[in-house]
C-alpha cells in the first residue's frame, strides 16, 4: 500500500480555485478507479471528479463549502499497489496514514454560498490578500466587483499603515464607499438629439468664427418698439431683428442657405428661408421652424416665436413644425453665454449664434476714446465642405452691419 495524495487539478482552462461542493466518499471507504468521489464548482461549471486510483480513502483534507486553490492536496488514498498510483503525476514523499502533519489547506472556511465574482476579480482579491467571501458585493445579485475588493483591501490595511493614533497627525478620514453610478437610458428626445448631433459633427467639418458688434442702435430701436408690441400683447425680443438681419445677409450669400446632397454630390441652394430657432427646454433642445420668415414682419415673427416657444415647452409641436429649416439661429446669450461653438443643424450648412448683450469698453473715434457701449457677441459655425472662411467671414460681417445699423433693414423690406 502506498499513499496517493491527490491534488485539485485545473478542470477548466485557467481555473485557479474551486469550491468543494460535496464529497461522495468518506474516510475509510474503498474506491474503484473512475468512481465519482467529489463534486466541485469552478467559475465555469459544477464538475464531477472521478477517483484517480483504486484503494481506501485515508484522509479528506478539504471540507464542503471550502474554496481550494488548484494544486492543493484535497484527498489522500491508501492506494492498491500496481494500480494507477504508479503513474501519479509527481512522486510524493510517502506519508503514513497516521501522520498528523499533513498539509491542511490554509483557506478559511466560510459557511454559506460562494461569492459571485468574475475570475479577474478573484485574481485581484488573491493579489490583495483579500478573502473574497468576506467582501460585500455591490454588483448585480450581490456580485463582488473589483472596486469592492479594493475598498475592502483599503479598509482592512489602514490600521497597519497607521500604527497608532498620534496627536500630531490627523486621523485619516474614513472614506465612504462611493455612491453607485446612476444609469439613465438614452431615450426619446435625448436620444434623438444625441444621434442628430453625432451625425452633424461627424459629417460636416465644423468651423466657427466669432466676433463682436456694437448694438446701441438696435437696443434703442427694440426698446422703442417693445412698448408698441407690448400693447398688442406681444413680447418683442431681439430674435426677430436677428432673423431679419440673417435673412438679408442670406439673400446675398445663397450658399449659406443650402445643403449638401452627399448622394448626388450637389449643393442644393434653397430659394426659401425657413429659419430654425433653438429653444432651450428642460427635456432637451428643440428647434421649431419659422417658415418663409423673409415674408413676415417683425411683429409677426415675434408672435410666432412666442407661440412656437410656448408650445415647445408644452411639447405640443407637430413634426412638421420641427423640421425643414434651411438655416438655424441659436441665442446662447439668453442663458448668459458670451462665446460658443454651436453645432450645425444638419443638413444645413451653417448656424448663427448670438451671445449676451452687455456694456463693454470700446475704443472709438480718431482720438482713441474709450467708451462704454452695448455690445453683442456673435458667431457662425459653418460646414467647411460647402463654405470657406472668407465667405463665412463676409457673411457674418454683413449680418453684423445690419445689427449695428438696424435701420438699414428697412431698405431690404419688400
Amino acid at each position: 500500500m502506498a499513499a496517493y495524495e491527490w491534488k485539485l487539478p485545473d478542470v477548466g482552462e485557467g481555473i485557479h480555485e474551486a469550491e468543494i461542493m460535496q464529497w461522495l466518499v468518506a474516510e475509510g471507504d474503498e474506491v474503484a478507479p473512475d468512481q465519482p468521489i467529489l463534486q466541485i464548482q469552478t467559475d465555469k461549471a459544477v464538475v464531477d471528479i472521478p477517483s484517480p486510483t483504486a484503494g481506501r480513502v485515508a484522509k479528506i483534507l478539504a471540507q464542503e463549502g471550502e474554496l481550494v486553490r488548484v494544486g492543493t492536496v484535497v484527498i489522500v488514498f491508501d492506494s492498491a499497489s500496481g494500480s494507477s498510483a504508479a503513474v501519479a503525476p509527481e512522486p510524493e514523499p510517502a506519508v503514513s496514514p497516521s501522520s498528523p502533519a499533513l498539509p491542511v489547506s490554509a483557506e478559511k472556511q466560510v459557511a454559506g454560498r460562494r461569492a459571485l465574482a468574475t475570475p479577474a476579480v478573484r485574481k485581484l482579491a488573491r493579489e490583495l490578500h483579500v478573502d473574497i467571501q468576506q467582501v460585500h458585493g455591490s454588483g448585480e445579485r450581490g456580485r463582488v466587483l473589483a472596486e469592492d475588493v479594493r475598498a475592502y483591501a483599503a479598509g482592512d490595511s489602514r490600521p497597519k499603515q497607521v500604527p497608532g493614533p498620534s496627536a500630531a497627525t490627523p486621523r485619516p478620514r474614513s472614506v465612504q464607499p462611493l455612491a453607485e453610478e446612476i444609469r439613465v437610458p438614452l431615450r426619446g428626445t435625448r436620444r434623438a438629439i444625441a444621434e442628430h448631433m453625432v451625425r452633424s459633427k461627424y459629417t460636416a467639418p465644423h468651423v466657427t468664427n466669432m466676433d463682436e458688434v456694437e448694438v446701441e442702435a438696435l437696443v434703442a430701436m427694440r426698446q422703442q418698439m417693445k412698448e408698441t408690441a407690448g400693447e398688442q400683447g406681444i413680447k418683442l425680443t431681439y430674435l426677430p431683428f436677428i432673423i431679419k438681419a440673417v435673412i438679408a445677409a442670406l439673400k446675398q450669400f445663397p450658399y449659406l442657405n443650402s445643403s449638401l446632397d452627399d448622394d448626388t454630390k450637389e449643393i442644393v441652394l434653397k430659394p426659401y428661408y425657413h429659419i430654425g430657432i433653438a429653444v432651450d427646454d428642460p427635456d432637451g433642445l428643440v428647434v421649431p421652424v419659422i417658415r418663409n420668415a423673409d415674408q413676415k414682419s417683425l411683429l409677426e415673427l415675434a408672435r410666432e416665436i412666442q407661440d412656437l416657444t410656448d408650445r415647445a415647452h408644452a411639447h405640443r409641436l407637430t413634426r412638421e413644425e420641427l423640421g425643414g429649416s434651411t438655416f438655424t439661429i441659436t441665442n446662447f446669450g439668453s442663458f448668459g453665454g458670451l462665446f460658443a461653438t454651436p453645432v450645425i443643424n444638419y443638413p444645413e450648412v451653417a448656424i448663427f449664434g448670438t451671445g449676451r448683450i452687455q456694456k463693454r469698453a470700446l475704443v472709438v473715434g480718431e482720438d482713441d476714446r474709450i467708451v462704454a457701449r452695448q455690445v453683442m457677441s456673435v458667431c457662425l459655425t459653418f460646414d467647411h465642405r460647402v463654405v470657406d472662411g472668407g465667405t463665412a467671414g463676409r457673411f457674418t460681417n454683413l449680418i453684423m452691419r445690419y445689427l449695428h445699423q438696424p435701420a438699414n433693414l428697412f431698405l431690404e423690406m419688400s
Binding site: 487539478p9 465555469k44 459544477v46 464538475v47 503513474v87
Partner: protein, 358 residues
C-alpha cells in the same frame, strides 16, 4: 424544391436497433468489428474525460456520439487516401491506425501528437475551424494532377459550415473537380450555438446545390448507413465525378470540451431525447436483437475495450517527458533558417539556466 424530399436522411438501422435498410454489402464480421471499435472509442473518450478531471491530462474535446460518423467514413477509404480532421476527430484517426495514446498525449501537451505516423495519410488535428477543408482540397487536387488516384476526406462540424473556408473549399473543389469527400458531422451545436441560430437553411447537404455538386444526408448515428453511403461516394469520387458533400446528422452527447458546461445552455430534455439513438447503444440493440451478439460476448467486448484503453493510458503516462525545444519539431520537414536561429538561441538561454519563458 422540397428539401426534405430532395435530401432524405439515409438510414439502415433505426434508433431502436431495427434493420430498416439494406446491409447486404456488409458482412456480419465487419458489423461486429465496427461494434468493437465503437465500444473501444467510447471507452477511451469517457476515460479521457475522467483523466482530465483527475488532473492527468489537459483540455480534451470529447467525441462521444460521433464515433459512427467518423469510423464509418474512414472505413470506406483506401489505405493511402487522405484524412483531414479537426480536434474532435480522434475516433477517425484511431480507426485509421493512429495509436489510442495519441489523443491523450495531445491533451498532455506532447508535441509527438502533432506528428501522425508516416504510414498513415492523415494530417494532424486542426483547431482552426474549417481550415482543414482547404487542406483537403489541396491534397485532392494534387492527387488528381499527379494521377495518384487518392481521395481526400475531410471532417468538420456544423459550425464550420458558417465559415468562409468551408465555402471556398467547396467552390474550388467543384471548379477543379478535386476528388474530395466533405463529411460534415452535424452534431447540432457549435459550442453553445444551436444549428437553428447558425444557419437559415433547412439542411447542410442542400448547400451542395450552390456549388453544383452532390449533397447527401445520412444518419450519422448509424454506422452502416454512413459506411455504405461513403463506400459508394468514395468510389465515384475516385473515378472523377468531382467532390461530394455529406451531412452526417448526429449529436454531441457531451460538452464542447472539458472546459465547457452544456447544462448552462442546452435543455436536458433535448439531451435525453437524442441520447437514445446514439451510435453505440443503437448498434448494440441491433446486434443483440438480431442474435449476432450475445450478452456474454458483449461483456467480453467491453472488457477488451477497457484493457486496450488502459494500455493507451499507460503508454501516454509513461511517455518520455517532452523537452521545451520540441515545439520546433514536426511543422517543417527542414527547419527554416530563421527557426534554426531561434532554436539555437532558445537552447543557449535554456543552458544558461533560463526558463522556457525566458
Amino acid at each position: 424544391m422540397d428539401i426534405a424530399q430532395e435530401f432524405p436522411i439515409r438510414q439502415v438501422i433505426d434508433a431502436d436497433g431495427q434493420l430498416v435498410g439494406d446491409r447486404s454489402s456488409v458482412s456480419d464480421d465487419q458489423v461486429k468489428d465496427f461494434y468493437r471499435w465503437l465500444v473501444t472509442l467510447r471507452t477511451l473518450d469517457q476515460r479521457a474525460w475522467n483523466l482530465q478531471r483527475q488532473g492527468r491530462i489537459g483540455t480534451y474535446p470529447p467525441f462521444s456520439g460521433q464515433e459512427a460518423a467518423q469510423v464509418g467514413a474512414v472505413a470506406a477509404l483506401q489505405k493511402d487516401d487522405w484524412i483531414c480532421g479537426s480536434y474532435r476527430d480522434w475516433a477517425a484517426l484511431s480507426y485509421a491506425g493512429v495509436p489510442l495514446s495519441y489523443p491523450l498525449l495531445n491533451s498532455m501537451g506532447h508535441a509527438v501528437a502533432g506528428r501522425i505516423p508516416d504510414e498513415i495519410n492523415a494530417l494532424p488535428v486542426q483547431v482552426v475551424i474549417a481550415a482543414q477543408t482547404l487542406h483537403a482540397v489541396g491534397l485532392a487536387w494534387s492527387s488528381k494532377l499527379q494521377n495518384q488516384g487518392r481521395v481526400a476526406l475531410t471532417f468538420f462540424g456544423d459550425g464550420a459550415t458558417s465559415q468562409g473556408d468551408f465555402h471556398e473549399s467547396l467552390n474550388l473543389a467543384s471548379v477543379v473537380k478535386a476528388p474530395v469527400v466533405f463529411v460534415c458531422q452535424n452534431n447540432q451545436w457549435a459550442i453553445s450555438v444551436p444549428i437553428s441560430r447558425q444557419m437559415n437553411s433547412q439542411t447542410i447537404a442542400q448547400r451542395a446545390v450552390a456549388y453544383n455538386i452532390e449533397g447527401i444526408r445520412v444518419d450519422g448515428n448509424d454506422i452502416l448507413a454512413v459506411y455504405q453511403t461513403l463506400k459508394d461516394v468514395v468510389g465515384r469520387v475516385r473515378e472523377g465525378q468531382g467532390p461530394v458533400l455529406i451531412e452526417a446528422v448526429t449529436y454531441r452527447l457531451g460538452a464542447h470540451t472539458t472546459a465547457d458546461d452544456p447544462t448552462r445552455y442546452r435543455p436536458s430534455e433535448e439531451e435525453q431525447r437524442l441520447r437514445y439513438g446514439e451510435p453505440v447503444a443503437r448498434l448494440r440493440r441491433y446486434l443483440l436483437s438480431s442474435g449476432l451478439l450475445t450478452e456474454d460476448e458483449n461483456k467480453q467486448v467491453e472488457e477488451e475495450a477497457k484493457a486496450r484503453v488502459e494500455e493507451a493510458v499507460q503508454a501516454a503516462e509513461t511517455f518520455p517527458k517532452g523537452a521545451p525545444e520540441d515545439v520546433f519539431n514536426h511543422v517543417y520537414a527542414d527547419l527554416t533558417p530563421q527557426l534554426q536561429a531561434q532554436r539555437a538561441e532558445f537552447q543557449r538561454r535554456m543552458q544558461q539556466g533560463g526558463t522556457a519563458r525566458g
